[in-house]
Symmetry: C2
Subunit: 697 residues, 2 copies
């Protein structure tokens, strides 16, 4: 995917998410990210003559892992080994690296348990149970309530459900709206935070081909990393894990992907699509490209700066390429015509029954009006925000934390509910290094951009800058702050509102000053956009439910989903792409580019080439329907065994945000055979390979 964090950081970067989730109506063959309570049994039986048993489904679900930094993974041994992508592990790798030892560049392998390396702030979740709580969530709605009242009442009830569940089960408990709020489900997760790194290859081979090859196929990436999960200092005994099948899947085989797709908008209304096309995408791409330029200038200052910026450059390049692909999809007149036809058909069905027409018929106009309001205020919403610096955001989170936790759960800002606090504290107190020079540079440019867009009299801009230039302000803030020390952050959080109020830390002071302005904006967004959109979206969801039932699958919500499809090639560039590549192809691409960046190979790939069986499959594609957040998901065969590791989608899949086509949309995975071949022949990690293949204890 190279987008593990795309959608989630998207939220972080831009502060607000104003999309509603709509489910898809017109499923293409192999389309769908299905919830585990509603797997497409009939489709699977009709198309592939396979009906998964409940046991099979439970086995897959309990073997699947969500990485809370935005990816997916799976248990692959009874000894706590978890497989995911290198790019999902990347932020952890960078956090444990220093200017002396760069695990991103050099890779890492713990040959003994003692060498396994603690991750600073990684949280993994396993979905233990799913419970339909729709009736309870809807029960709070009383006749005559306004949209805002409904929104608030439901928010409070959801917080209550989550809190009760947490107290009762001690499991992380999230109420998840599905089918545009047509249903609400309580998802309970077992949470693991004691995670150690076992293996990661060099970034050069994990992300082979760099930005050019990102989101494309044929591909030659060993985008893998292996962690081990501990509890109380000991490896967990994972009773549910995927058996490793080194043969992989053959051309035409049915396979499944179990993971956490982040976000799709497959049934957004035309009004939303047009807003995205005409406002959201152009604006976001402009911001991202500017940010990327700043990062590249910073990286050019020296090798240490380059190291510090590499992860973010990766993220921004990845985002620009992905969003450009989505944007191009929106500019495609055929796609737009298809979406328009879907909407017209849906409307025709709604209007065909008087009671549907009166209940749902007006919803498209309502949504169009909300979109118009959003477009008109988009500049303010996007630029009046803490942007560019994760560290400045952290200061704001601390300021809000001490205030919010004093309120009743239902009244708090999103992100500060009881059930979310432990994870939040874990993030706020992360000992991971912070690069102040980088943060200052990024924050200064983001401020300058806000100044350019909003003008000097905007309260947000004025409050931060005063009489200073953006660069002067950023320098003051980042030179003076002591927040880099986790102990300082801990003292603030534990000290509460009074200690925070008295803090002279410039970032904390800044955050306190802008917090009211940002809250006011957020309030406006909630009242005028979010709550109205939520109600309208629900109406649409209900209409869809009434007409299509649960034969459709809900849009992605970064919760566990099951996709299915076949291993198969596709028409590409005037010819056909095969369903897999081999190590031969890796050496072809390297030789074809005369070993030039980003097509160079780590030294061991040249020194040990003769050891490899070059015909070993390296990457492969399948028609399973995935999207950002699925990175690191296992590819699973009929027998519930692991045959591959999702790490990307092809260029044709980038429109998947809006539309899926099994003709060309493909998920790209590392082949199980390639991982074993590389571990044994290139990394002297035969012991780990044995553990994965079940040949040792």
């Amino acid at each position: 995917m190279k987008t593990k964090t795309r959608w989630i950081k998207y939220i972080l970067t831009f502060g607000v998410v104003l999309f509603v989730f709509h489910s898809t109506i017109f499923s293409a063959p192999d389309e769908g990210m299905w919830t585990f309570d509603n797997p497409p049994l009939k489709l699977l039986n009709d198309r592939y003559n396979f009906i998964p048993t409940q046991e099979w489904l439970d086995h897959v679900r309990l073997s699947s892992v969500r990485f809370n930094n935005g990816g997916s993974g799976s248990f692959v041994s009874p000894t706590g080994l978890v497989l995911t992508n290198h790019h999902v592990a990347l932020d952890q790798l960078q956090k444990v690296s220093t200017s002396q030892k760069d695990y991103v560049q050099d890779g890492f392998y713990a040959a003994t348990p003692a060498e396994e390396m603690k991750c600073p702030d990684l949280e993994l979740n396993v979905l233990m149970s799913l419970e339909n709580v729709t009736d309870r969530v809807f029960s709070v709605i009383k006749k005559g309530m306004s949209d805002q009242e409904i929104y608030a009442a439901r928010k409070a009830e959801i917080a209550k459900i989550e809190k009760e569940s947490l107290e009762k089960t001690t499991l992380r408990s999230d109420v998840v709206p599905l089918y545009d709020g047509g249903e609400y489900w309580l998802y309970r997760y077992k949470k693991y935070t004691e995670v150690r790194l076992v293996f990661a290859p060099e970034v050069q081979i994990a992300f082979y081909g760099g930005d050019p090859d990102n989101f494309t196929f044929p591909r030659y990436d060993l985008d893998m990393a292996i962690f081990r999960v501990y509890e109380d200092g000991k490896p967990v005994v994972s009773t549910q894990y995927l058996k490793w099948n080194s043969k992989g899947a053959a051309d035409g085989d049915l396979v499944f992907v179990s993971g956490n797709p982040g976000y799709t908008a497959r049934l957004n209304t035309m009004a939303e699509i047009e807003k995205d096309r005409d406002y959201t995408y152009p604006l976001i791409l402009k911001i991202l490209k500017r940010r990327l330029e700043v990062l590249k200038r910073y990286a050019a200052l020296g090798p240490e700066q380059a190291r510090q910026a590499s992860n973010m450059i990766f993220y921004y390049e990845n985002s620009v390429k992905a969003l450009t692909g989505e944007y191009n999809g929106l500019l495609d007149k055929n796609l737009i015509a298809k979406k328009q036809k879907e909407e017209t058909d849906f409307q025709t069905r709604v209007n065909s029954k008087p009671e549907w027409k009166s209940e749902f018929g007006g919803v498209w106009n309502t949504i169009a009006e909300i979109q118009k309001k959003h477009s008109e205020n988009m500049t303010k919403i996007r630029y009046r925000a803490i942007r560019g610096s994760q560290f400045a955001q952290l200061a704001l989170d601390i300021v809000r934390y001490v205030t919010e936790i004093q309120k009743p759960d239902g009244k708090r800002l999103e992100g500060f509910h009881d059930s979310q606090l432990e994870s939040l504290r874990y993030d706020l107190l992360s000992p991971a290094p912070i690069y102040l020079q980088l943060e200052e540079t990024m924050f200064a440019d983001a401020l300058r951009e806000s100044l350019e867009q909003l003008g000097p009299d905007d309260p947000f801009v004025k409050t931060i800058l005063g009489t200073r230039t953006p660069e002067e302000a950023a320098k003051d803030l980042f030179t003076g702050t002591k927040l880099a020390d986790p102990k300082v952050r801990k003292a603030l959080i534990e000290g509460g509102e009074k200690v925070v109020d008295e803090s002279t830390d410039p970032l904390i002071a800044m955050a306190q000053k802008v917090d009211p302005i940002l809250r006011e904006l957020r309030k406006w967004i909630e009242d005028h956009l979010d709550s109205q959109m939520k109600i309208a979206g629900e109406k649409l969801g209900k209409a869809r439910f009434a007409i299509y039932g649960k034969s459709v699958n809900p849009d992605a919500t970064f919760t566990l989903r099951l996709s299915y499809g076949a291993v198969k090639g596709y028409p590409m560039n005037g010819t056909i792409a095969p369903s897999k590549t081999t190590f031969y192809g890796l050496y072809d691409r390297a030789s074809s580019f005369d070993m030039k960046q980003p097509f160079n190979l780590p030294a061991r790939y040249l020194e040990r080439k003769e050891k490899l069986d070059l015909s070993t499959p390296l990457n492969f594609v399948c028609s399973c329907d995935i999207i950002g957040g699925n990175s690191g998901s296992p590819v699973i065969n009929r027998d519930g065994e692991l045959v591959g590791l999702i790490f990307d989608g092809n260029i044709e899949s980038l429109v998947g945000n809006f539309i899926y086509s099994d003709e060309t949309n493909r998920a790209v995975a590392v082949h199980s055979a390639a991982m074993i071949e590389a571990l044994r022949k290139l990394y002297d990690a035969g012991k780990l390979a044995d553990e994965l293949e079940g040949k040792s204890k």
Copy 2:
């Protein structure tokens, strides 16, 4: 190209060519197929800091060879070795093959001179001199002549020039209109017909990847064949030949292609483009696809039928893919908008000067009217023709031959001028095998198609069929004919009109009956379309000359041209294509498709894999501007050495018929190193490799 014969067979298949040639005005970087009298010296100096000397140009021209079956080639040794593509040699390979020995499938290598195999009917031309005869051609035009009179007078003068030159020099002499008839040049060729086959690999590796990979890159084809040219039973001593450079060209290097591009329509008017888009392409594609189906059904009858049909299946699949690419180009709104802008700019310039406006201003309307007439009569023109069977066409040629040669040269049908007769006789008397069952099948279907399109009362249809069905008619014609015997053909040709008139051969009788009908149609075409279009095209050519001079290059005419460009990759499929591939890539593609057709490898490639240096470059691309007819052209470096062998264009180049873009348009070539590596390591042809590399005498 895999289109060597595309444009030329196109003419054969459809009987008439009604395109005018226009030169291009707005040259993109690296655009242009330049005549050797007018190389782009300034462009080359500005862009690549290289000015070819006259000696360099003569060396390249005299080393270049035209294959009269529609391709190009070059002398590559002082001992008469000529290098071209396997697919240019394909029809010869098929003609020397039998049901016992299939050189197409198995390849061929003559380890000794005695084993070199005579080709039945191959003619090679070397361009010995170029002479501007524009003034003489124009001198026959008198004030007050009608378009038809001008056309006839000029035709007669051209025939006279050719005849005089032939008699004077004994060289094949062709008057070639360039710049839409803005200039006329006398091209004199040395002609070689004693040609023997030295080497050809298996078709499976020459055309690796088959129809799917055709016209695409990255590519892994050894599309080569080597002939030796003889005179009087001895190898010619070629004083001019290209020295073989096995290092090849590096990424970014300036390279040249010297060959015979067949046909381009880069500056057709919008009226012509729209006619092609709306009438010509849909109709031709319909015909070709139908023909392909018939061929495939025939090939399915058995292995011998499959062998017989393979060359034509290749040709038709190739044509369908190529024409579909061109057609898609015409459907591309951006391309059309660009062409429209070019035309508008041109018109604006014409209208900016009163004398230009009065002389040239009306020409676009004239052309539009002719195109309209053409479109309205297209069905008749296309279907009232001998189609499907080369053998039936041969009968018609014999009937016409004996009549035409009795007329003065200037009054004859095109193809029957004195200067063309030797080549024509060579074709008519070819001892190459003719597959009567295949010919009958193809002719029957073509007749049925004409019946469907023209109806039973059409004189052409009625004359051939009488009361028979198309299948019955074809059966009668091909069962009874004795023309398969070259001696019978010879007797007819030498016997003259009387012998032909008395012949009871059913094909000859059929040809005699339909000839008047076809001549009448041809006369109508000449009077109403060709001659008018020729005059209008000339007017346009003059306008262009007046405004742009010879800074532009003329559209392709299957005469020798020089293209230039750089070895370089291009953006593709979301990533970048490298400038070359390697043998690694060949094995990757074969393994990726599990060695399935058409991605399987000849046995020696598996048995001898360990001998190969897999990092040897196999194919490469350059931005040289080429098109069908350039197949087999040498790729030449600054030092006038051979570094590669053109065999195809990428999928993006298919619109090159109408427009060139150096961003993505690429010529695809076999690398010089790959040919040597394969000859030495796979084919035990070290002796031939030594001869090519100049390591032996």
